[in-house]
């Protein structure tokens, strides 16, 4: 069996088996589920490493043709997988991180009632994610794309006893689908333009030149709309904080490491297209910058530990899009790579804290927890995200900053800079509030199955930067070379880069210090005003609710009650009623008096004769 096929189907098989077991047997020991749940992702993770290894070192391109999905006229969609460098790079972290989070989840979900169901969904998610990444043509990719959204929906609303959770799931899926709307439209347009020449990525990129630039921009824009939805960028981001309603492993896997990065992957995948549409690229960069800044600002007034992380995810994704926007694809991808590790780690740590503290999530209530291992891990992850050298994100973020600087869009660079400072602020605010307190609370000890994956991720967070060691430190930018994407290289002189790095780090250190002063061992957090604009997330949610949701509901009522009921149905009924009424009037004519009947006959006769007269009047 083909490697990729096996890689893809592993989680699916697991999921199906789990479903069958749930369905057929009422009582099964949890370990059966655990075994199955880990089997599929495990196989996938192993194979992913295998594939990436060969891809990296041997430049081997794996592919697998499953079957013809659809073939009508020119519209040929092969269900085919292909692991070129980009895909191989993606599965390199997607599959192993998934596997690690699975392990973590076995501990996190231990003993819960829907243990089996959880892993079934989880495995399906992995399947779709792999499908997304490995797909050889955009339609299959779109299936994976939608699939991850769907499973995300199921997982966010996993604790369905609380109906709000399911609403959060709904919101996530709906907003995702708004993005998908753009994606799908883009694909359709793309197909109509050049689809007859083959619709796998290779042919698409080969034929791109045939499309005129206006249409190309439209397609590029629509594709990016898809990415906006999936990667929670302005304006489609509102689902992400709400999505934290799901179990924490879900947040770790889906809303940090994998699914939300699909947007980035997609834009990178369509790099040849975006290279042809510089306007849209810059637009992407702006959106990314604004998102990064916005999320960072909001996160500074957030109290829910998971939501802080959610906003930080959004912010980090913003960084990636900035990089994509200026054409630094591999830089963005590299940041994504690093982000997968440290963000997963952050979430897992947060999850461990939450699990240890009776599922409280407000950092003010969690203050002063005693969990040294978690503290260390979280601390490292926080340092990574704030891009303190030598942790991995330092390299990736620095690369982004220099790319931005080099691209000449100083305003974007500036926005990114502010956002990165704010990142340091809110991340350390969280850490300081949680751990640097006077009073101490003891916590339950986290299980081994949770700690070990986190340990692995901690290591990865620290060292992942090695993979794309920049030239400035005598690195070889391995990943960039491996990916070999058509980048717009904005080289900055090494000196400038060093200055940038230095200034950057310095400022960050300053911010950290300020944060320390403000939050560590103080009760500043208690005094913060929860009614400010920032604490209310700039009223975006409320705005959406008022404009979109309310409008739709008003329309719904208007359509249903006013148009359908009052206007159409009632007038139909009124017509019937009027008809009946007219009948009643005729019943008065039918009054039973024989003389009237004779009169009617007479009237008939007379009118007949009048007709005749007019007809025959001029005969003679």
């Amino acid at each position: 069996m083909n490697v990729l096929t096996l890689l893809l189907l592993g989680p699916l098989v697991s999921a199906v088996l789990i479903f069958l077991i749930i369905f057929l047997f009422s009582k099964v020991h949890q370990s059966v589920y655990t075994f199955l749940a880990l089997l599929g992702p495990g196989v996938s993770a192993f194979l992913a490493l295998f594939v990436s290894y060969y891809s990296y070192f041997e430049k081997e391109v794996f592919s697998s043709h499953l079957f013809t999905w659809l073939h009508i006229g020119d519209f040929v969609v092969e269900a085919a997988l292909k692991a070129d460098a980009l895909s191989a790079f993606m599965i390199l972290f997607v599959a192993p991180v998934s596997f690690l989070i699975h392990i973590y989840a076995t501990g996190y979900m231990d003993g819960q009632r829907s243990y089996g169901r959880f892993f079934a969904y989880f495995n399906i998610f992995v399947f779709f994610m792999l499908l997304l990444v490995l797909a050889d043509n955009p339609i299959i990719m779109f299936i994976g794309w939608e699939g991850v959204g769907l499973t995300s929906y199921a997982l966010i609303g996993f604790y369905y006893e609380e109906i709000k959770n399911t609403y959060a799931g709904n919101k996530a899926f709906i907003l995702n689908r708004i993005g998908d709307f753009g994606f799908l439209s883009a694909l359709m347009l793309l197909f109509l333009e050049i689809g007859s020449g083959g619709f796998d990525f290779e042919h698409i990129f080969y034929n791109l030149v045939q499309i005129d630039s206006g249409m190309l921009s439209l397609i590029a824009f629509l594709l990016f709309v898809g990415a906006m939805g999936k990667s929670a960028q302005i304006p489609l981001f509102v689902w992400l904080p709400d999505a934290m309603a799901g179990p924490t492993p879900v947040s770790a896997l889906i809303h940090a490491a994998t699914m939300v990065t699909a947007g980035v992957y997609m834009v990178a995948r369509f790099a040849p297209l975006y290279n042809l549409t510089p306007d849209i690229s810059i637009f992407i960069a702006y959106v990314g910058a604004l998102s990064a800044l916005f999320a960072a600002v909001v996160a500074t007034r957030e109290y829910d530990i998971k939501k802080i992380l959610a906003y930080s995810t959004m912010s980090q994704l913003g960084f990636m899009f900035m990089a994509l926007g200026v054409g630094a694809y591999s830089t963005a991808l590299f940041h994504m790579f690093a982000h997968a590790f440290f963000k997963a780690l952050l979430f897992m740590a947060a999850g461990a804290i939450i699990a240890a503290f009776h599922h409280k999530q407000d950092i003010r209530e969690l203050r002063g927890i005693q969990a040294p291992v978690l503290f260390v891990m979280m601390y490292i992850a926080t340092l990574t995200i704030t891009a303190i050298p030598p942790f991995s994100a330092f390299f990736s973020k620095d690369a982004i900053m220099s790319a931005l600087y080099a691209s000449g869009h100083v305003e974007i660079f500036f926005l990114a800079f502010v956002a990165s400072l704010l990142t340091a602020f809110y991340m350390f605010r969280m850490v300081f509030v949680l751990f640097f307190t006077r009073e101490k609370k003891s916590a339950q000890k986290s299980g081994a199955s949770m700690i070990y994956p986190m340990a692995v991720l901690t290591l990865l967070s620290i060292f992942a930067g090695l993979l794309n060691f920049p030239e400035i430190f005598a690195g070889e930018l391995n990943i960039s070379h491996w990916l070999g994407l058509a980048e717009q290289s904005h080289k900055v002189p090494h000196a400038t880069e060093i200055i940038l790095m230095g200034v950057n780090t310095l400022f960050i250190a300053g911010v950290i210090f300020y944060t320390y002063k403000k939050y560590a061992y103080t009760d500043a957090i208690e005094k913060e005003n929860e009614t400010s604009v920032i604490a209310n997330k700039f009223y975006v949610d409320a705005f959406y609710h008022q404009t979109v949701v309310r409008t739709l509901q008003a329309f719904s009522l208007f359509f249903d009650k006013t148009i359908s009921k009052s206007l159409i149905d009632d007038s139909i009924n009124a017509m019937a009623f009027a008809y009946y009424k007219i009948g009643k009037i005729f019943a008065h004519a039918e009054n039973g008096n024989v003389r009237f009947y004779a009169l009617y006959i007479l009237v008939g006769v007379v009118s007949g004769f009048i007709y005749l007269y007019f007809l025959l009047g001029d005969v003679v």
């Binding site: 009946y580 009948g583 024989v594 009237f596 009947y597 004779a598 006959i601 007949g608 007709y611 005969v619």
Partner: protein, 496 residues
């Protein structure tokens, strides 16, 4: 059997049987049952004699020397005679329970029944206006009396009064019209009149046109076209159910048969003059009939009002005879058959379940019938569907022909209005079905007895269905094609 023999034997048989029963009624052997069965047997035999005349093309004047070419026996009349006899037979057979349970069905009523059939038989054969008028009067008067049969009922007397009065009124128009035609053409023979019309121009036809219109008005009165048919609701309501069935099913066809002969022979030349009148009549008839039918609370009156609508459909076809002569005329014949069998069935069911009372049979009286008597309910449903023109029943094929002929004649809008009133008719016919099947019954289960009546109701229902889908593909029973051929032959025999 020679055609002359059939032509003479059938009316003779009816007449003799009538006289026999009249005398028999005075003897001590008389029982109502015997008279009933004698009548049935007469109709049965007459029917079997008459159907020998259908299906083959023939046309001959009967005893032209003696009768002075006043009656003609052709396939056309043979077909209709068979229809009347069948209709009379079915009406009477289904009315068995009614006849038994009431005391006003005396021997004279059978006599009148036979005599009215006699009148109709002559009417279809009549080729001359005065003969037609007299035979029409024979039939009408018998029916007037049959309507007023139940002297104890105020309703019946009133219905008799109205029908008689208005009937005489309308008849005098016929005579006036006949006079005008005679004044111009010096003859009352249809063939002579036709010849006169062909050979002269409009200036010499003024009175023919006017007189023809007056005759047409009498016909309109008899078929209850609006505004001449205001009597129909009251008379149908007042008459006892079998008589209503008889009027609606059989008598009406007789009028149409005569009308068709007159139209095709004489009026066809005036088509351009009369068409707007007939079209107007058709439209207003359908419209008013539908309006009246919709508001009725009783099934019997609803059927009465809907019979007005059916006259409207037929007028559509009459209007189309000018342009699409053959298809319109055969559509009329087919539709008449379709309406006849459905109406007889529908009224028959009502008379079956009314058990001799002069109830109007309100919609609510039908409640729950489907549970108690599924066969009856199913049959009534079939009749309703057929009257509504629902496909797979003969009524649909009839409407199909009529609308086709209208479109063929270029009157697509007439077909459209026909379809509209058919649409409205769905309401009142389906209301019956609603009450039959969906409403809970309020009354106790009753035993209606009379398997024979039931059997004939079911047979009628089967004919209705077979007429809608029948094909010789499956079974070797004459189906729609045969009926078509029948109407075609009868049409051709008019020598057009």
């Amino acid at each position: 059997m020679s055609n002359t023999f059939i032509a003479l034997a059938v009316p003779a048989l009816l007449l003799l049987s009538a006289i026999f029963i009249l005398l028999f009624g005075l003897s001590s052997y008389y029982t109502k049952n015997r008279a009933y069965y004698i009548t049935l047997a007469t109709l049965f035999i007459a029917f079997f004699i008459s159907i020998n005349g259908i299906g083959v093309l023939h046309s001959a004047e009967i005893l032209p020397q003696i009768f002075n070419s006043m009656i003609v026996y052709d396939t056309f009349s043979a077909t209709f005679i068979s229809l009347f006899l069948l209709g009379g037979f079915l009406t009477l057979a289904i009315a068995k329970s009614f006849v038994d349970k009431t005391n006003f069905f005396t021997h004279e009523s059978f006599v009148l029944f036979l005599l009215s059939l006699f009148g109709m038989v002559i009417l279809t054969m009549a080729n001359e206006l005065l003969t037609a008028f007299i035979s029409l009067e024979i039939a009408s008067m018998s029916v007037y009396i049959l309507v007023g049969l139940n002297r104890d009922s105020l309703k019946a007397s009133e219905a008799f009064f109205k029908y008689l009065l208005l009937g005489s009124f309308a008849a005098s128009f016929y005579l006036l019209g006949m006079m005008l035609i005679f004044a111009q053409t010096k003859s009352t023979n249809l063939d002579v009149i036709a010849e006169y019309i062909l050979n002269t121009d409009l200036n010499s036809q003024l009175l023919v046109v006017a007189g023809s219109m007056l005759i047409m008005i009498t016909i309109m009165f008899k078929i209850a076209a609006v505004p001449f048919g205001a009597w129909v609701l009251d008379v149908y309501e007042g008459a006892s159910l079998p008589i209503t069935a008889y009027m609606a099913g059989v008598f009406k066809i007789a009028i149409f048969a005569f009308a068709l002969r007159v139209f095709l022979k004489d009026y066809i030349t005036f088509q351009a003059i009369y068409d707007p009148l007939i079209i107007g009549g058709a439209l207003i008839t359908m419209a008013v009939g539908s309006l009246l039918a919709v508001i009725q609370q009783s099934v019997k009156k609803m059927l009465a009002a809907s019979s007005v609508v059916h006259s409207g459909y037929l007028l559509i076809a009459f209007a189309s005879t000018g342009e699409a002569t053959s298809s319109a005329a055969s559509a009329i014949i087919f539709y008449l058959f379709a309406y006849f069998i459905s109406a007889i069935g529908a009224f028959g069911v009502l008379s079956y379940i009314s058990k001799g009372s002069d109830n109007l049979i309100n919609y609510d009286d039908l409640n729950g019938l489907a549970k108690e008597r599924p066969i009856i309910a199913a049959s009534l449903t079939v009749f309703m569907l057929s009257l509504a023109g629902f496909p797979s029943t003969i009524g649909f094929i009839g409407k199909f022909y009529i609308f086709t002929s209208a479109i063929e004649a270029g009157y697509t809008f007439l077909a459209f209005f026909g379809a509209l009133s058919a649409f409205i008719s769905i309401y009142y016919y389906f209301k019956v079905i609603v009450h039959l099947y969906f409403k809970e019954s309020g009354h106790l289960e009753v035993d209606y007895g009379y398997k024979v009546s039931l059997a004939f109701i079911v047979i009628s229902a089967l004919i209705v269905l077979w007429g809608g889908v029948g094909t010789s593909l499956l079974l070797d029973i004459p189906g729609i094609n045969a009926l078509n051929a029948l109407s075609k032959y009868s049409l051709e025999s008019l020598g057009l």
